[in-house]
């Protein structure tokens, strides 16, 4: 049993370093996708509240599609789709899996987070915008200085949830050969024929990231709510 554990170590024949690199790739793709997906989600949420019916329709179509199609399928369509399209322009093109993963996961995150943004936007009362307008702030300024800061507090739990889902979804990028945790452990399994050990290690790594994220998010929520405890809201 102990000699098997050495396979996870850093010695000769150990996969420890490779696993750490895989973990780094997993975290990198999740962190790289996050701002892109959240910004897209906010944009789509604003689109859903647009006065232009065409923009509203497009935003709704976007969420319906990317919430309804399996992430794995989205990943394949983006990866192979862009590959085929770009090769028509330049035959030497090969799609970097990292970018494909980022785009696919970002689109899905955009669709899911837009729902959170919409609910948060609804929670900021009309009077806030009107007061900002009365103070002479432009619509853009009102959004940036008045609405957005209040938005974040309400949106945080939902967005935190989106982050946890994203973290787990990154495991799918292994199928387009991005060397994340799943990719490394699959390769280790092929070499060593110890699937239980390696997939067990992988699942514990993911669990660790999830627990750390949950802890961090709880702290962020406590911080975002710090001004509200006096009104009966909980800070913990």
């Amino acid at each position: 049993m102990l000699d098997k554990l050495a396979l996870l170590g850093f010695g000769p024949g150990g996969w420890g370093l490779a696993l750490l690199q895989g973990a780094l790739v997993t975290i990198s793709i999740a962190l790289a996708t996050l701002p892109f997906g959240l910004a897209l989600g906010l944009l789509v949420a604003l689109g859903k509240r647009s006065r232009n019916a065409l923009v509203r329709g497009a935003a709704t179509l976007f969420t319906t599609v990317f919430r309804g199609v399996p992430e794995l399928l989205t990943l394949y369509i983006i990866y192979f789709g862009i590959q085929v399209l770009m090769q028509k322009l330049w035959s030497g093109f090969s799609m970097p899996p990292f970018v494909a993963g980022m785009v696919a996961l970002g689109l899905v995150l955009g669709a899911f987070s837009s729902e959170v943004w919409v609910a948060a936007l609804d929670s900021v009362q009309r009077g806030q915008r009107e007061a900002a307008a009365a103070l002479g702030l432009s619509r853009r300024q009102a959004f940036r200085l008045v609405v957005f800061p209040q938005l974040m507090r309400v949106a945080l739990p939902g967005l935190g949830n989106n982050w946890m889902v994203l973290l787990k979804e990154t495991s799918l990028v292994s199928v387009i050969t991005l060397p994340d945790i799943m990719f490394i452990t699959t390769r280790a399994n092929v070499t060593t024929k110890e699937p239980f050990l390696f997939f067990g290690a992988a699942i514990l790594l993911y669990l660790f990231f999830s627990l750390v994220s949950a802890w961090g998010l709880a702290r962020m929520e406590a911080r975002a709510n710090r001004g509200y405890s006096a009104f009966g809201g909980s800070t913990r």
Partner: protein, 238 residues
């Protein structure tokens, strides 16, 4: 001519003509996988949620550990751990007579999806039960109902209405997640589509599969809306 040949005929798409029927069979497997695992998951989730809320401390802690583990790790990783990882102990499973389960990718996927969705559904039910006002418990107890009857006749019916929407979302998530089963050599809708693409190199086959998944999800959503309207018709929502 079978019905599954029509989509290829209508669209004139060669890959769809050749693989339409395989995809239809795959769709059947996807539907089986999702329907069985979500139903079994629900059966598991009810005692899990109740045990988590009203059970002794050790039981509640164990259930919390279970839900945290399955909700905190990717389904793909869980599936690989079951199919490849547990499949590694073949002599043991043969001895206890369970090798038939771990040998078949379908059963492995079914097992993984069931325990996974049970964890999510248990959390949904727990939240729903917790948001029923205390007064409902107290009222039932003061009427002399025993605890289990209070739960069964007073709390659960109200909690189920609250849980309805998130449970529908969970069903949709499972329809989408079931595509992962294709990665353990199972020819569900995704698996059949992957095969079709690998042989035809026709990218549009993925788009047709996406349309099928989209239709599935949309149907579930509409049906769930009907459910909800019917079950909440006694409440003055509007």
């Amino acid at each position: 001519m079978r019905w599954c040949e029509y989509p290829g005929l209508i669209t004139g798409n060669e890959a769809l003509q050749n693989y339409g029927c395989r995809m239809a069979t795959g769709l059947g497997i996807t539907l089986q996988l999702v329907a069985i695992s979500v139903a079994l998951g629900f059966v598991m989730a009810v005692p899990l949620a109740v045990g988590r809320l009203y059970g002794p401390r050790w039981l509640a802690a164990t259930i919390t550990g279970y839900t945290t583990f399955f909700r905190g790790t990717p389904l793909l990783c869980q599936l690989f751990l079951v199919y490849y990882g547990l499949g590694q102990f073949r002599p043991f499973w043969q001895e206890v007579g369970l090798w038939w389960l771990f040998r078949e990718p379908f059963y492995c996927a079914l097992l993984t999806f069931t325990v996974n969705t049970a964890a999510y559904q248990a959390e949904i039910l727990r939240g729903a039960i917790q948001s029923i006002p205390r007064g409902q418990f107290e009222g039932a107890l003061s009427l002399g109902l025993p605890r289990w009857k209070t739960l069964l006749l007073v709390i659960m019916p109200q909690a189920m209405i609250l849980a309805l929407r998130p449970l529908g979302n969970e069903l949709i998530v499972m329809i989408k997640s079931s595509a992962i089963a294709s990665l353990v050599t199972l020819f569900d809708l995704m698996g059949a589509t992957r095969l079709a693409f690998a042989r035809s190199f026709d990218l549009s086959i993925y788009l047709y599969a996406a349309l099928v998944y989209l239709a599935l999800v949309e149907i579930v959503r509409r049906v769930w809306d009907l459910f909800e309207r019917r079950l909440t018709r006694h409440m003055a929502l509007r």
